[in-house]
Amino acid sequence: MPFSLLKYGLSSDYPVDVDLPAPKELKSSYDVVIIGGGGHGLATAYYLAKYHNITNVAVLEKAYLGGGNTARNTAVIRSNYLTPEGVRFYSESVRMFQSLSNEFDYNIMYSERGQLTLAHTDATVRAFRQRAEVNTHFGGRTEMLDRQQIRELVPSLNMDPGHLPVMAGLWHKDGATARHDAVAWGYAKEAAKRGVEIHQLTEVQDLVIEGGKVRAVKTNRGTIQCGCVVQAVAGHSSILAKKAGFTMPIISYPLQAMVTQPFKPFLDPLVSSSALHCYVQQTSRGEVVFGGGSDPYPLYNTRSTLDLKESLIGAALEMFPFLSQARLMRQWAGTTDMTPDYSPIMGLSPVENYYLDAGWGTWGFKATPICGKTMAELVASGGKTPDLIAPFALERFARFRQVNEMGATAASH
């Protein structure tokens, strides 16, 4: 054994860097309590400290950091949505992702690959043209590709799967991927450095609401007073909102995904098919990720089913037949909070000082930075909704003003 290694190992100076400080006792009161230590909650805490100098903040996580849907998504970053509201919001998020590694001094493995969505019908081709136009207009880089261009871009793709020949593609150059855990860890590290307290294994059991205003949060480690609360608990939004005394326009479905053994690199862009309800991407480790639509009925359960494996793998093999010999390595599921219009619910709630970051269905990871930034603005201003998230208010349902992103969301992450 090299002498220097022994010396280093015995030195009291090692380790020099601790990303997260050791857990402390909960204080009796915080200015801001953020419920949920996933990407969104941690990002909100970070931007509160960074831009608004608000650091008397506690992030409460019932399990471990980023262990919920932050760890269960398929790490797709894109902004090729359909509505102007959606495109503006997600485009800003993509821009923020691009500089996160530098900002954190921590590698989130951001990798701009481009995302290709395949059209198999005339109707889809027309819908894609609209998306390309809206996208270009509001700051995204999206264009239409013909069959020949698709063939050149993804030589391994089967251009004529079954009865669904590929007719055209929506090519989104801004499409990217990143290490999802690292995004949560990066935000946690930088938030903690600025004085935010992150409490894992701290479950919120109840909320104390007096006079229509949230006053305190009851946890398994005691009750804490709070100036305001941000709810960022993807997959459990309805359950927590019920504790706050209101219902949500949300139904929770499981979403299953799976990953194969690693291969040498063969697939650069993220490829999804609108008709096969399947998306395929190769990770930087060489594994191939398959994802699809949510399960057919609501559940708060992340079990795996053979039905979904069969249908998803069937679709994936139509697109990339040579994967038929691949071995599946892992399968997992997350609980997705689906809203009626496939857009999130952000902003004010019926309870004063209780802010919502919910309804993230299958589109939450890609919104992490912009979500944190706008939620921090909302909290810091004492409840003045930033323009960028105003269309996503809970109130939109009572006013029948939905932001319909179904076409740009379903199975094309």
Binding site: S238, I239, T247, M248, Y300, A398, F400
Partner: protein, 103 residues
């Protein structure tokens, strides 16, 4: 394969069935406010526990009611809607915006 016990067709693969939403009571369209209507259309209890829902066997277009646990994924009971709906429900047809008034 998950099995759904259909009251009409017996035990069948759950992939033959379509989930039809929570069993809720529709407010009276003549007297309800916009907010109550929005609540009925969009909002959901989204219960983590036992729920009572509409389901349909797609092949036979047969609608029935299922009681199901949304955390354990167990189907507790299924039955014909006649167990619950013993009276015919008539929808009033005297709205000014019905087809007959369109000119």
């Amino acid at each position: 394969m998950k099995i759904m016990p259909c009251p009409l067709n017996g035990p069948r693969n759950i992939s033959e069935f379509v989930y039809g939403g929570e069993l809720t009571e529709m407010p009276d369209p003549d007297t309800t406010s916009d907010r109550e209507w929005a609540d009925y259309v969009f909002f959901s209890d989204n219960t983590a526990g036992v729920v009572i829902e509409w389901w349909m066997h797609a092949a036979s277009s047969y609608w029935f009611i299922a009681e199901r646990h949304t955390v354990t994924d167990e189907i507790l009971r299924t039955y014909d809607p006649s167990e619950r709906f013993t009276q015919r429900i008539d929808f009033p047809m005297n709205h000014s915006d019905t087809v007959g008034d369109r000119t």
